[in-house]
Symmetry: C2
Subunit: 149 residues, 2 copies
């Protein structure tokens, strides 16, 4: 069994650092890295509930609840009642929140494309396809993240 963790660890760390710097450079004090993840995920999902986002991000729901409060106070997300279930809160980005999310998105994409631009067209294609492939495999694998033996 080869040590494949190394590669993922390094990649993940580098991407994390890149994201953090991007988040800083375009939003300054406005949003933290975890908050940017929340904006990202709310933007991705369709009419998500609090639970939906918290689970997707693997966050404790109580911590998440407080972050949502912070982001609501900052005017980046809006809480709406679910039409048929009063317990559920639906989350959405405000126009300001969307602006922030788009800014981060643009900044990260610019950085990533800069990195990718040092590769050949073929390599670039392969890398992107590979990541997609791996993400699909992650999703498929139900045994993922379960303690072994």
């Amino acid at each position: 069994m080869e040590n494949v963790r190394n590669m993922f660890q390094i990649m993940s760390r580098n991407f994390g650092l890149l994201s953090e710097q991007c988040c800083d450079s375009c939003c300054g004090q406005e949003v933290s890295l975890v908050q940017s993840h929340i904006l990202y995920e709310i933007n991705r999902q369709h009419n998500p509930s609090m639970q939906d986002i918290a689970v997707a991000l693997g966050m404790d729901i109580t911590t998440f609840s407080r972050q949502v409060k912070t982001l609501t106070d900052k005017g980046f997300i809006k809480k709406s009642p679910h039409p048929s279930d009063q317990r559920i809160t639906i989350l959405s980005l405000t126009p300001e929140g969307l602006t922030v999310e788009n800014a981060i998105n643009l900044t990260v994409n610019t950085q990533l494309n800069g990195v990718l631009s040092t590769m050949s067209e073929f390599e670039r294609e392969t890398v992107l396809r590979s990541i997609q492939l791996f993400n699909d495999a992650m999703k498929r694998s139900a045994t993922c993240c379960v303690p072994p033996k």
Copy 2:
């Protein structure tokens, strides 16, 4: 410019969640995720100083200093003076620290190989090569993580 951030964001998140669960399942309360990153990096580098590890992980040196204290108290890392410069502290894993690091490493590798096992041999090869390629490109790119424009 295509949205390549999505793929990296998802991959990075999934790997983060996987790592966290692995860290939990083999070390329980012993070490947090960030602490596992510290052990990982100390194990990777050759006679690293505090600075070396903090910079590698993108951590604030003061936060790092405290985490090192915690890990030293837990008996997982050892601080030694630099032979010729008394300002510098050299970090190393204790036998117990190495045991923990190896346990996490094994657990993460097992999980990852589980995920990879759902692919064809060819795909697996391609994915691993691609990640290596991307990591190399990251390292090459000096403009990485600098605000655009």
